[in-house]
C-alpha cells in the first residue's frame, strides 16, 4: 500500500478559498494535522462496502 501523501498548504488554501473562507497560512497550518487525520478517516470510510444501501435522509418520523 502506498503511503498517503501529506496534504499541502496550497491544497488547503485552494479548498478554503473555494468555500469562501480567506484564512491565513498560519491558520491553515494550525489545522493541517487535523485535516490530515480527517482525510485518513474519510479514506477508511471509502473502504466500507455499502452496496445499494440507501442513505438515511429522514428519521422515522411517525
Amino acid at each position: 500500500m502506498l503511503a498517503r501523501m501529506e496534504i499541502s498548504l496550497e491544497s488547503l488554501k485552494r479548498t478554503a478559498t473555494l468555500a469562501g473562507f480567506a484564512w491565513t497560512d498560519a491558520e491553515l497550518e494550525a489545522i493541517r494535522p487535523a485535516v490530515q487525520r480527517l482525510l485518513e478517516s474519510l479514506e477508511q470510510l471509502e473502504q466500507i462496502p455499502l452496496g445499494s444501501i440507501e442513505p438515511t435522509t429522514q428519521y422515522r418520523v411517525l
Binding site: L12, T15, A16, A19, G20, F21, W23, E27, A30, I31, A34, V35, L38, L39, S41, L42, Q44, L45, E46, I48, L50, I53, E54, P55, T56, T57, Y59, R60, V61, L62
Partner: protein, 463 residues
C-alpha cells in the same frame, strides 16, 4: 422535582422558600462551579410569589407548580439572553420561549437562570473560554471537567443548584455530563421532543431532553415536554404515554443486552466493573441478560464527525466568515474542518448511518433494552488530552463520545444514570438504550435499578 412539586402542592413548603434556597446555593457555590451564565434572581422570586399566591387561592397550574429549573443556555427564553455559550450571541435576547420552555412554564416550573455549556454545544468536555470552564462538583479541588456540552446542567443538578435542567445531545451532550456528574440524563428518540427554539449544532443529530437526579424526575419532565410541535417538522404525532405510570419497579422477564466490544470491554476497569455489576443486579431483579456486539459501530466516529462537521459549518458559515476571532479556539478549529468534507462524504456517512440504525434495531428486536457505559472513563482533568481505556490509548475527546455517539447516529432513546464510583470518588455512568419511542421501558429499567441501588442519591461534598 416530583417530590418538591408534591411538597409545594400540599403546602409543606413555599415556592418562595424553595426558590430562595436555590438562589442562595447558586450564590454560595457558583463562583467555583461556573454552572450558570445568567441568574434570573428577581424574576424567579417574582414568579415564586405569584405561584404562592395561586396556591393560597386554591389553584395549581401543573405538576411542576412552583418548582425551579434551569435550561442549558441554548434554549430561547423570552426576555432572557440566550448566548449558546458564545461571545457572538452574548447580547441576544429572544422575543419568545422555545416551545419546550413554554410547556414547562405552563406546567408551573420557575426559571432560575441559564446554564453554561461548551461553546455552541460543539465539544464533550464542557469548557468555555467566554464564561469560564464548568467544574465538576465531585472534584474536591475543582480541576476536573463536568463533561459537555451540557456542562452547566450536569454540575448544577449534581450540586443542588437546580433540581432539573434541559440539555441537548448531538453526540452525548446530555449523557456525558450526566455520567461525569453522577446524575440521570435522558436523550429521547429523535422526534419525540421539539427542537424548535433551540440553537442547533447538527440538525439531524440534535436531541433535547431532561437532566435530573432520578429516572422518576426525567419521566416527569419528559411527560411535560414530549409530543408533536408544528414548529418542529421532525416531531412525531405518536401519543405521549404516561411515563410515570410505566415506572413499576418490575424488570422481571425484561430482556437486557449488555453491549460488549467497543462499549463495556473498552472501558477502564473501574467502569467495566461497575457496568457488569449493574447488569448482574438487574439479572438478580429478574431481567434476562445476554451479551451483544454491534459490528458497524466502529465506523461511527468518522461518519458522525462528517455529518456534524457539515451541518455545523452550514449553520455557522456566516459568522465564520465575519467573526471567526470570536469563537473559542477548539470550536473554531472543528468548524473549519467542515470545509474539507464534500457531498459524497456526507452521503456515504448517511449510508453508514442506515447500516448502524438497522443493526441496533435488529439487536433490539430480540431485547427490550441494551446496556453499556455512558462514558468509558470517569471525569478527566481539565486540559487532559490523552487517556488510556481498556483497549489502549485514546484521545480524551474521542473517549468521552465513544459510547454515546452511536445512538445519536441511530436516533434511539438512551438514558445515563450513576452506577458506582471510582476509588477516587468520581461517578461512573451506566447507559440504557431502548427501542424508538419506547422511553417508557428505558426509564422503567433505570428507575428499577435506582430502587435497588443508592448511587443516584449520593451528593458531592461541595453540595
Amino acid at each position: 422535582m416530583g417530590e418538591l412539586g408534591r411538597m409545594i402542592a400540599t403546602k409543606q413548603v413555599s415556592p418562595v422558600e424553595v426558590v430562595r434556597v436555590h438562589l442562595d446555593r447558586i450564590a454560595a457555590l457558583d463562583a467555583t462551579l461556573r454552572a450558570f451564565i445568567t441568574v434570573c434572581s428577581d424574576a424567579a422570586l417574582e414568579s415564586a410569589r405569584h405561584a404562592e399566591a395561586e396556591l393560597m387561592a386554591g389553584k395549581t397550574v401543573g405538576p411542576l407548580h412552583g418548582v425551579p429549573w434551569a435550561p442549558k443556555d441554548l434554549y430561547s427564553t423570552k426576555g432572557v439572553r440566550t448566548t449558546g455559550g458564545s461571545k457572538i450571541l452574548a447580547d441576544s435576547v429572544p422575543s419568545d420561549d422555545a416551545p419546550v420552555v413554554a410547556r414547562l412554564a405552563r406546567a408551573g416550573a420557575i426559571l432560575l437562570g441559564k446554564l453554561n455549556m461548551h461553546e455552541f454545544a460543539y465539544g464533550p468536555e464542557g469548557i468555555n473560554a467566554h464564561y469560564g470552564d464548568t467544574r465538576n462538583p465531585w472534584s474536591a479541588d475543582a480541576h476536573r471537567v463536568a463533561g459537555g456540552s451540557s456542562s452547566g446542567s450536569g454540575a448544577a443538578v449534581a450540586a443542588g443548584l437546580t433540581p432539573g435542567s434541559l440539555g441537548s445531545d448531538t453526540g452525548g451532550s446530555i449523557r456525558i455530563p450526566a455520567s461525569l456528574c453522577g446524575i440521570t440524563g435522558l436523550k429521547p428518540t429523535y422526534g419525540r421532543v421539539s427542537r424548535a427554539g433551540v440553537l442547533p449544532l447538527a440538525w439531524s443529530m440534535d436531541h433535547v431532553g431532561p437532566m435530573t437526579r432520578s429516572a422518576r424526575d426525567c419521566a416527569l419532565m419528559l411527560g411535560v415536554i414530549a409530543g408533536y410541535d408544528p414548529a418542529d417538522p421532525t416531531t412525531s404525532v405518536l401519543p405521549v404515554p404516561d411515563y410515570g405510570a410505566a415506572l413499576t419497579g418490575d424488570v422481571k422477564g425484561l430482556r437486557v443486552g449488555l453491549l460488549r466490544a467497543h462499549f463495556t470491554d473498552a472501558a477502564t476497569s473501574d467502569v467495566r466493573g461497575a457496568v457488569e455489576a449493574a447488569a448482574k443486579q438487574l439479572e438478580q431483579a429478574g431481567a434476562v441478560v445476554d451479551e451483544v456486539n454491534l459490528t458497524q459501530v466502529t465506523h461511527v466516529a468518522a461518519a458522525s464527525a462528517v455529518i456534524v462537521a457539515s451541518e455545523a459549518l452550514a449553520y455557522h458559515a456566516p459568522w465564520m466568515r465575519t467573526r471567526p476571532q470570536d469563537y473559542q479556539p477548539d470550536v473554531r478549529e472543528r468548524l473549519r474542518l467542515g470545509v474539507f468534507v464534500n457531498g459524497a462524504h456526507y452521503v456515504r456517512s448517511q449510508q453508514i448511518r442506515a447500516l448502524l440504525t438497522r443493526e441496533v434495531d435488529e439487536a433490539l428486536a430480540r431485547r427490550d433494552v441494551l446496556l453499556a457505559p455512558a462514558t468509558p472513563l470517569a471525569a478527566p482533568v481539565l486540559g487532559e488530552r490523552e487517556t488510556t481505556l481498556g483497549d489502549g490509548p485514546s484521545d480524551v475527546r474521542a473517549a468521552l463520545l465513544r459510547c454515546t455517539r452511536p445512538f445519536n447516529f441511530s436516533g434511539h432513546p438512551a438514558c445515563a444514570a450513576p452506577c458506582g464510583f471510582t476509588p477516587g470518588g468520581l461517578p461512573i455512568g451506566l447507559q440504557v438504550v431502548g427501542r424508538p419511542f419506547d422511553e417508557a421501558t428505558v426509564l422503567r429499567v433505570v428507575d428499577a435499578y435506582q430502587r435497588i441501588t443508592d448511587w443516584h442519591t449520593r451528593r458531592p461534598a461541595a453540595a
